[in-house]
Symmetry: C2
C-alpha cells in the first residue's frame, strides 16, 4: 500500500506458527471434552438425518493430522489407495480407546509441527495427492473440518439432553 506498510507486515505477523499450533490444540482439547461427555452407547451409533455417528466424525479428525503434517513437512504425501485406507479406518470399540488415539495424535502433532519449514506455509501443494492449495490453507482445513463436525456433535448431544462443553473454553 505504501513504503511503510510492507515492512510492517513482515515484522508484524498475523499469527505465528507456534500460535497456530496452540490454536489447533485448543480446539482439540475442546473436542476431547465433547468426546468425554458423550454417552458411551450413543457415541458409536447415534445420528441425525442419516449422518455419521460422532465416533465416525472423530475418526475423520484423527485421520488427517499425522499424515497431513508429514506431507506439509516433506511435500511427500500419502496418495490414492493409501489415503482411502487411512480415511476408512474403523473406530475402535470403546470411547477409552478413541481417547487414547486422540492423545497419541496430540503428541504426534506437537512432535511434527516444529518440523514444518517456515517457507512451506505459503507454498502451493497437492495435499494427499488431490487437494490443491497453500499449506496454510490445508492446515486451516484440518482445523475447520474439526470445528464443523464437532458442532454437529453438539447437536447430537443437545438432542440427547446433554450439555456440550463451552465453545469458547479451550484450556
Amino acid at each position: 500500500m505504501n513504503n511503510v506498510a510492507e515492512p510492517q507486515a513482515k515484522v508484524n505477523p498475523v499469527i505465528t506458527a507456534e500460535q497456530l499450533l496452540e490454536h489447533w490444540q485448543g480446539h482439540r482439547r475442546l473436542t476431547r471434552r465433547a468426546i468425554e461427555v458423550y454417552p458411551e452407547d450413543k457415541f458409536f451409533t447415534y445420528s441425525i438425518g442419516g449422518m455419521r455417528p460422532f465416533a465416525d466424525l472423530i475418526m475423520e479428525m484423527l485421520a488427517m493430522p499425522e499424515e497431513g503434517l508429514k506431507g506439509a513437512i516433506t511435500g511427500d504425501w500419502l496418495k490414492g489407495e493409501d489415503v482411502n485406507k487411512l480415511f476408512a479406518r474403523k473406530a475402535p470399540a470403546t470411547k477409552a480407546d478413541i481417547l487414547r488415539l486422540w492423545d497419541e495424535t496430540t503428541e504426534k502433532i506437537n512432535e511434527l509441527w516444529p518440523k514444518i519449514p517456515a517457507h512451506r506455509f505459503q507454498e502451493n501443494d497437492m495435499a494427499f495427492g488431490m487437494y490443491e492449495g497453500q499449506i496454510y490453507w490445508t492446515i486451516l482445513y484440518f482445523i475447520d473440518n474439526e470445528i464443523h463436525h464437532r458442532g454437529q456433535g453438539y447437536v447430537y448431544l443437545r438432542s440427547l439432553g446433554i450439555e456440550p462443553p463451552a465453545f469458547w473454553e479451550r484450556n
Copy 2:
C-alpha cells in the same frame, strides 16, 4: 530455535492479513449458500434439542463482524448494554432480508479489513469490553464461531432431508 529460524519466520508469514480476509469471506460464501438452500418456513422456527433456529444463529454471525473489526482497528469497543443490544437484534421477517444483511456485512468487512493496523493482530485487547485475547485470536473466534454454528445448521438441514452445500467449496 536457532539463528536461522527466527529471521525466516519474519519473512515467511504463516498467513497474511489478505489471506485471512479471503479465508473468512470464503467461509461466509459457504454460509450464504447454506442460508439459500434452507426452506423459508423452517429457517426461523426449526430446531433440534432446544437449540436456536438457524435464523438466530445467523443473526449471531451478523452481530460480530462490523463492531468487532471497528474494535480491532481502533481499540475502542462497543461495551456493556450496547453489546447486549447488538447480540439481541431480532432476525428480519424473510430470508431475502437476512441475505441482504449478509451482503451488506460482506461489504463492510471488505471495507474495514485493510484498516486494521498490522501491529494490532498481535496486540492483547478486551474484545467487546469482556473477552480478553490477542486480536488474531478474536478474529479467528468470529470465523470459528461461524463454522461451529453453520455445522449445526447442516444437521438441521440433513434432518429436514436437504443436502447442505459442500463444506470444502468456498468460491
